[in-house]
Amino acid sequence: MELTNENVLGKIISKFGEDNIRDPYSPDGIMTITTNRESIIDLIKYLYEDEELQIRFLTTLCGVHYPDQKDRELCVMYQLHSLRHNYRLRIKVFFPSAEPIMPTLTNIYASSNWMERETFDFYGIIFTGHPNLTRILNIDEMEYHPMLKQYPLEDLTREDKIDTFFGR
């Protein structure tokens, strides 16, 4: 079976239902679907184990922060690849920033270990069940998650950039 966006979407929806698989669209030819925290691990596991799909490669995983979307401020995006069929798929999960918790993917893809640590480091998203959820890129002493948009990009310890030319 050749994988197309239509038949893959049909397969996923017939397995998980319309309620759990929402907003399919293809912004750049890659089908993008939105699901929820409860279904995400089962969905990726299903895509891995299904003999027709064989979507068995995790290209990347990252966090996104949309501060203006009420109760959907945070997002985790997974990009999957079927090497057998050369078919790509993107999955998003939105959740409120008040409850930044996601299930870990490390039991299916070991490669998600460092990516989830990075997402935790920059967005403060807690992956429950992760074997070692510590900072990976920033210094251990850092007290915030710098990619959240409420924090400024600039280093806050500088004292020489106070005039209006530097916008402070």
Partner: protein, 184 residues
């Protein structure tokens, strides 16, 4: 063959008293003279300023003309720590540890805008100048600086080495400076 040795330049002797068969001067001047012409750099190169240092080290600009023949990749035998390039906050403790492992007397050159002040990287992940973690003797501006500028920075350190009091490293001011950086 007979003329070939005339190219060799010798440094002038320091001020002193000379007579038949003797020359007297102070230890400070002799040791300063010796140190000045044998400063071994430790290149701590993290980015593009390090490439400029490679040019400085190469035969065109030839840092060895100034006695820095041997780049020391062990801090224990180095005299100058040359920090070249952006130092991320995560790299800060490494710079400090390298500095701590160097023996006295030791000098530090911050080469380029990033090492001096963070440069264009005014961001949460970058150390805003290495003087946040180690005391710096000479700042070389530029992004990146030309090899001539790096050589000029080295010559400023030569001036410091030649004129430094032998007791400076034991002075309370120097101890207070190290203490302010929490270096024992």
């Amino acid at each position: 063959m007979s003329d070939s040795n005339n190219d060799i330049k010798l440094v002038d002797a320091p001020d002193g008293v000379s007579g038949a068969g003797f020359f007297a001067t102070s230890f400070e001047k002799v040791i300063g003279l010796a140190r000045k012409h044998s400063l071994w750099p430790l290149p701590f190169a993290t980015s593009c300023c390090g490439i400029e240092f490679m040019a400085t080290m190469g035969s065109n600009y030839d840092i060895s003309r100034f006695g820095s023949e041997r780049p020391s990749f062990s801090p224990r035998q180095a005299d100058i720590l040359m920090v070249m390039g952006t130092i991320a906050k995560k790299m800060g403790p490494v710079v400090k540890q390298v500095y701590e492992q160097m023996s006295e007397p030791r000098w530090v050159i911050a080469v380029g805008a990033c090492a001096s002040s963070g440069g264009i990287f005014d961001t949460y992940s970058v150390l805003q100048g290495i003087d946040r973690v180690v005391p710096v003797d000479v700042y070389v501006p530029g992004c990146p600086p030309r090899p001539e500028q790096i050589l000029d920075g080295l010559m400023r350190v030569q001036d410091l080495a030649a004129n430094e009091s032998l007791r400076r490293r034991n002075s309370p001011e120097y101890q207070a400076l190290l203490a302010s950086y929490n270096i024992k």
